[in-house]
């Protein structure tokens, strides 16, 4: 499936202005080369996501937000999340699936 690039378009700007997008600051390098670890992204609130989506989720056991890629979607809606740099990413391989209520949304664009 061809994934849409995360371009910051006029449409994304308008959606952000009207409150349909939330802004987050990415920190860390486990999603290289997609994110270098200092970008800001816009996120669309969503509970239903697809394999290959870049998502923001709540860590299952700690009070922090993670940005990872959806590796797969389970029958109950939970998702397996993975970092792009597997050797330095803590993700579903260690903490298991992320349940629906912990999904914040899908990254739709990169601000820079």
């Amino acid at each position: 499936m061809t994934r849409e690039p995360l371009q910051f378009t006029t449409k994304e700007l308008l959606l952000w202005i009207v409150g349909k997008r939330k802004r987050y600051h990415v920190q860390g390098s486990s999603m290289e080369p997609l994110f270098q670890g200092s970008e800001e992204v816009l996120v669309k609130t969503a509970k239903k996501v697809s394999t290959g989506d870049i998502v923001v989720v709540r860590h299952p056991f700690k009070s922090l937000l993670l940005v990872k890629e959806v590796g797969s979607v389970l029958d109950n809606g939970s998702i397996i999340v993975l970092g792009k740099r597997s050797e330095m990413s803590t993700d579903s391989r260690s903490f298991g699936p992320v349940t629906t209520e912990r999904i914040i949304g899908r990254v739709t664009s990169v601000l820079g």
């Binding site: 802004r23 600051h25 486990s30 800001e40 937000l65 940005v67 970092g83 330095m88 803590t90």
Partner: protein, 158 residues
């Protein structure tokens, strides 16, 4: 988005952080760590070679000499081991299979650098210490080329 506008926005309304790393401290890679340790190995090697033995049988002088020599050797050993550790992290965690296309001798450079660390521990050799620093410089160059940046090789003791 325009860089100035984004910088302004970041200042006036910082965004919540989303972590793209493991929940423990992640590797922040920089061959400078290996360079500093390798420079220390060279420095301690020189100090050991330059250390003058007491000329007579004065006990105090010999105690001071042995103490100083022991400490120099201990630090040389530690710094050589640190160099090895920092190099291992770069080799196993930073460099990826695709870097082998650009640097086909990558594994060989790291292997020789690791061996030089051991040689510096086993011997008091200016040649091995300088060789170690040369290997670290090659790794420095590969690292920054892999990152697409130009970072000069600057010695702390240069």
């Amino acid at each position: 988005m325009n860089n100035s506008a984004l910088s302004f926005l970041k200042k006036i309304k910082p965004a919540p952080v989303v972590h793209a790393h493991c929940d423990g401290p992640c590797g922040v890679y920089d061959p400078a760590q290996a360079r500093v340790a390798a420079e220390a190995v060279l420095s301690m090697t020189k100090k050991i070679l330059d250390l003058e033995r007491p000329s007579g049988n004065d006990k105090q002088q010999w105690v001071a000499y042995q103490n100083t020599l022991s400490r120099y050797i201990h630090i040389k050993e530690e710094e050589a081991q640190k160099t090895k550790k920092h190099l291992l992290v770069l080799w196993t965690d930073f460099f990826k299979p695709e870097h082998l296309e650009k640097f086909p001798n990558l594994h060989d450079v790291f292997w020789k650098a690791a061996k030089a660390c051991s040689s510096c521990k086993v011997e008091v050799s200016l040649e091995h210490a300088e060789e170690l620093l040369e290997h670290v410089q090659k790794i420095h160059n590969m690292f920054w080329e892999a990152k697409g940046k130009k970072v000069a090789w600057v010695l702390a003791n240069g």
